[in-house]
């Protein structure tokens, strides 16, 4: 099958999320990492390809700045093509706007199967899988894992809450929002990515955008928690003592 994986990068949550005075993310000062669920989607696609000699995997990213490394990493991991959709795009691009560009490209390329992460930490205006599927009018399912390829269909497990799930069969073209890959996403070394940067190239394709509904975001702000834990510091011994005392106080210690 002709498989596409739609990937994007998001602010690294390990670092402080700086805000501008207008209550926007200070994107220029932040470091970005591939969205963890997109990484799962890429891994699932590579596993599918490895199990089916005829399949190809194309990693697709919109050029909102610095996506080359992410695409070369996908190539180093085993993707066949790295496609960068270029145009007048920036980091503030909404998911609705992204979905327009991605859907247009996917439609033109005629992919059988489109995988992407179930969500990203910044998809305030909807998740890419559903948005792209809705624009394509394609079969789709989100919160899925364990994808398997048929000849003109794919099967997968869709998870619901509380351990309920369903096995689905979707006719291609289909769009799946991947919750987790069958295996932990593979790792490639920086040197292997560098090597790829020298030996391979990315395909730059003009992204076609069209009008998409926009939300009026008044501001972003850190939650003022209605409560916060009483903090006991970072000293291991003291922390352990405090926890034991607490257990004692709450009568949770086994006698």
């Amino acid at each position: 099958m002709k498989i596409a994986v739609l990937i994007k990068d998001v602010p690294d949550l390990v670092e402080e999320l700086e805000l501008t005075e207008e209550g926007r993310l200070a994107v220029d000062d932040m470091s970005f990492v591939p969205s963890e669920w997109d990484d799962q989607a890429l891994e699932e696609a590579l596993i599918l390809k490895e199990g089916d000699a005829g399949s190809t995997v194309t990693a697709v990213a919109i050029d909102t700045g610095d996506v080359d490394n992410m695409l070369f990493t996908a190539l180093a991991k085993g993707a066949d093509r790295g496609v960068k959709l270029v145009g007048d795009f920036n980091r503030e691009m909404s998911n609705r706007a992204r979905a327009e560009v991605l859907a247009h490209y996917c439609h033109t390329e005629g992919f059988d199967l489109i995988l992407t992460g179930v969500q990203a930490i910044d998809d305030l205006d909807g998740q890419i899988a559903g948005l792209v599927a809705g624009r394509l009018g394609a079969a789709h399912a989100s919160v899925v894992r364990d994808v398997a390829l048929g000849s003109t269909s794919v099967t997968c497990i869709q998870e619901y809450s509380g351990g309920k799930m369903a096995e689905l069969r979707l006719t291609v073209p289909a769009v799946l929002g991947i919750q987790a890959a069958q295996k932990t996403p593979r790792y490639v070394t920086v040197s292997k990515v560098r090597q790829m940067q020298k030996s391979a190239s990315l395909e730059e394709i003009e992204g076609e955008s069209s009008e998409a509904p926009a939300l009026e975001i008044r501001r972003l702000y850190p939650p003022v928690a209605s409560s916060h834990a009483e903090m006991w510091g970072d000293d291991v011994e003291e922390l352990a003592d405090r926890i034991v005392n607490l257990l004692e106080e709450k009568k949770l210690l086994r006698s």
């Binding site: 910044d122 205006d125 998740q127 919160v143 809450s161 509380g162 939300l215 352990a240």
Partner: protein
């Protein structure tokens, strides 16, 4: 102005808690905006669950096509309902169905969409304003919503359900079969012969901060010393380090132990959903800004790989 429409989800022909919360919000927002609250639900045997909802009207979409959830069938049926009712606002839970349907429906209808809402209110200037939880719960977004059919997915548990009742007008329609997505079978996770974390009084819960499967032993030893069970966040399960029956959260189990010891867990909204009602929460995480500390009662910023053995040692010492 069109109605405020809640799209409901059933579990064994009963309304889910999240759906009851949506009904409550649809009603209060409709009152404030001067319009009607309505609901739409799927299924053939759901009459008892919806007959007394506190809304003006309930559209019941039935027929053989809707016995199990399949995105395209539900979407097509909903799209017709939306075209007929022209709602000001459409509320769905941020569940699997909501995540699946919300975005696709927004794309199909060209309506704006907002995900991960935790609050919805009408402000002083009569504007509809929502709050959404983004960036793993580290930031909130305040968003102004147009009342022309905006689709909103709401994080379950964001506000209580009121439980008031009414006598809605009922309208039955039959969903059409739509090819493309076929439900092969519906399954239940076998409830884990190894553990039932929902019964444990103390949970030693580990997250990605455990770093390596070999370190799980430290958690097992601590659980044994404390008289509890080991549970975990989703990445630990996805990595194959613990079985799914150990998972706490949105797609795992909801737990309410007497003590929840969250070790190396950041406190993503999907995790909090499964444990925030625990009686006592103690969190240890090297990042003092991790959102888990907003729900924890007590916290520390030590390395869990050091803390676990230190704690085990003290507890073992006492037992002797």
């Amino acid at each position: 102005m069109g109605p405020v429409l809640a799209v409901l989800e059933m579990n064994a022909n009963q309304l889910t808690d999240a759906s009851q919360e949506l009904v409550t919000k649809a009603k209060s927002l409709a009152d404030e905006l001067g319009t009607t609250a309505m609901a739409v639900a799927f299924g053939d045997e759901i009459g008892d669950a919806i007959r007394t909802l506190d809304v003006g009207k309930v559209v019941v979409i039935g027929g053989p096509a809707v016995t199990s959830y399949a995105s395209l069938v539900y979407e097509e049926a909903l799209e017709k309902v939306l075209a007929e009712l022209a709602p000001a606002l459409v509320l769905l839970a941020n569940s699997t169905m909501g995540m699946d349907l919300g975005a696709a429906l927004a794309a199909r209808t060209g309506k704006p969409m907002l995900a991960y809402a935790t609050a919805l209110a009408v402000d002083d200037s009569k504007q509809l304003v929502a709050t959404s939880q983004v960036y793993g719960g580290k930031l909130l977004a305040e968003v102004q919503l147009p009342t022309e059919g905006t689709i909103v997915t709401v994080i379950p548990g964001s506000w209580p359900a009121s439980g008031t009742s009414g006598t809605p007008q009922l309208e039955d329609i039959t969903a059409e079969m739509v090819p493309g997505v076929e439900v092969v079978r519906v399954m239940e996770e076998d409830s884990g012969a190894d553990v039932d974390i929902t019964r444990a009084e103390i949970l030693v819960s580990v997250g990605r901060g455990i770093q390596d499967p070999e370190n799980l032993e430290l958690a097992e030893e601590l659980a044994q010393a404390i008289g509890g069970a080991v549970s975990c966040s989703r990445p630990v399960v996805d990595a194959g380090w613990l079985s799914r029956s150990h998972q706490v959260g949105k797609s795992g189990k909801t737990v309410k132990p007497k003590l929840y010891l969250a070790l190396g867990i950041s406190g993503a909204p999907e995790h909090l959903q499964g444990m925030k009602d625990a009686e006592l929460i103690v969190a240890v995480n090297s990042d003092g800004k991790a959102p888990i500390f907003d729900v924890a009662h007590f916290g520390g910023t030590a390395d869990i790989l050091d803390l676990m053995p230190a704690l085990t040692e003290r507890l073992q010492g006492r037992g002797q």
